[in-house]
Amino acid sequence: MLELRDLNTFYGKSHILQGITLDVQEGEIVCLLGRNGVGKSTTLKSIMGLVASQKGTIHFQGREIQNKRPDAIACMGISYIPEDRRIFTRLSVKENLMIGTSSAVNMTKSQKEEMLEKAYMYFPILKEKESQGGGYLSGGQQQMLAIARGLMCDPKLVLLDEPFEGLAPVVIWELIDIIRKLCESEKMTLLLVEQKAALALKMSDRGYVLEKGLVKCEGTVQFLSESEEVRERCGL
């Protein structure tokens, strides 16, 4: 479904991605692991067109999407849920969710209402706070809003960046439960970036370990969890 081949991205003069090659198949949950600053988030941003990549290719469902505009990429069915949540604090919870349908150009009004109901089903707290400003939510609720907003367009592929950062363990487990449920019942394809390798491996089918802008090793969750090298690199 998603193919990255030898992707190179620069921030000014620093060479962040030095040739990333990875695949995500339909229905898979794939995680990107690695320490801070190895290029995990940049990989997602490059896919989304938020940073320009200089070399290599990105294909989504057979179509080249490299260096297209972010809104065009979103409209093809890729949803980006960023690491710092970035919900619209000055918009109400409902408005935030409805903004999430912007990329679903063919969705009718009643379909959007259905998606809203579905979001409220998975995240009941959001229904309770529907008309409140996004800025009044707690950290965990904001993360739920960010995820729900990213799913409103009924995406084919979800890019999820550090969903558990700065959250209390109880909230993290609640979120993992919901994400698992979502993946099972909505047949979601997920590319997950997570610093906490133990959590990520529990949720995923396959993973890639990044180091200094390159894929160091890849494999099934079982292989990665047992690999000595991975344990060391990801601080397991």
């Binding site: 989304m48 938020l50 505009r69 972010p70 809104d71 979103a74 409209c75 980006y80 960023p82 970035r86 619209f88 604090t89 000055r90 918009l91 408005e95 409805m98 903004i99 999430g100 912007s102 990329s103 679903a104 150009v105 907003r149 990213g150 367009c153």
Partner: protein, 291 residues
């Protein structure tokens, strides 16, 4: 005493409201454009001037004010589309000094171009409604009340669109986090262009509405943009409600003060208020310190 209230104070209060509405038109465009794309448009007053001149030109061919108004507004909107597409688009995300240079220069070019095309003379458009209305003994021109009515409707419309429609929510989303809005599939460049067009069209609308009351001349934009800037600063940059309240305040202060002191000195009063605001509340009377 009652006579003084009816014949002196009341007309000035109404004048102040009308003037405040016109300033609000300019200031709203200015503050919405700033809130959305972080650009302070120093050429904004010139769109007001172009609106008035377009109205004047249409009137000299087809002497019907109600045809001149929509034609002028559409013409200014198209000018806005052209300038955004060719010039402003290059400014997004750049250092504010470029914004200042480009928009200041653009304003100068517009003024000089207007002088070349229409000459430096002051002109005037016939008011479409010359009737007056009598209210508890005071006589007041209907046309000014008409401006006030139109102004209130337009402001309510803008507020409704921004607050309660999905387009309004998108505009607010882009204003807060452009990148995230873009990644969610909002076509940010389209939002920028259309909001800029609407903002300058609003200024053009004010220009043509005011042309039967004020004179039409190439530098007319400067008088109004100065006040609009003051209003935007007093109201807090990017704060729509603040701009509205400050517009009415400035309009009233100028109108009422000119009862007792000469209108030129009344103008200075506005600047004094600005200075005091800047000292006491640098973020604006209605602004929040965080912005």
């Amino acid at each position: 005493m009652v006579d003084y209230l009816i014949y002196v104070i009341l007309p000035q209060v109404l004048h102040g409201l009308v003037w405040g509405t016109v300033i609000a038109f300019i200031a709203l465009g200015l503050t919405i454009i700033f809130g959305l794309m972080d650009i302070v448009n120093f050429a904004h007053g010139e769109y007001y001037m172009v609106g008035a001149f377009m109205g004047y030109t249409v009137m000299s061919v087809i002497p019907n004010f109600w045809i001149a108004v929509p034609v002028a507004v559409v013409a200014v909107a198209l000018l806005g589309l052209f300038t955004e597409f060719v010039l402003f688009r290059r400014l997004y995300g750049r250092d504010p000094i470029f914004h200042l240079l480009l928009t200041f220069g653009l304003g100068m070019m517009f003024r000089e171009a207007a002088q070349l095309i229409w000459g430096a003379d002051t002109r005037r458009i016939e008011a479409p409604v010359t009737a007056t209305i009598e209210f508890i003994g005071m006589v007041y021109p209907v046309y000014r009340l008409l401006i006030l009515g139109i102004g209130i409707c337009v402001i309510l419309l803008i507020w409704y669109v921004l607050r309660y429609t999905s387009v309004g929510a998108k505009i607010r989303a882009v204003a807060q986090d452009r990148t995230m809005a873009w990644a969610l599939g909002i076509r940010v460049p389209v939002i920028y262009t259309s909001v800029f067009m609407c903002g300058v069209a609003l200024a053009g609308f004010a220009g043509v509405l005011m042309s039967p009351i004020n004179f039409v001349y190439p530098t007319m934009g400067i008088d109004v943009i100065l006040r609009a800037f003051i209003v935007v600063v007093i109201g807090g940059l990017g704060n729509i409600m603040g701009a509205l309240l400050a517009s009415l305040m400035i309009g009233e202060i100028e109108a009422l003060a000119s009862i007792w002191i000469s209108p030129t000195i009344a103008e200075t009063l506005v600047f004094i208020i600005l200075i005091i605001t800047m000292i006491v509340r640098p973020a604006g009377l209605f602004g929040k310190a965080e912005r």
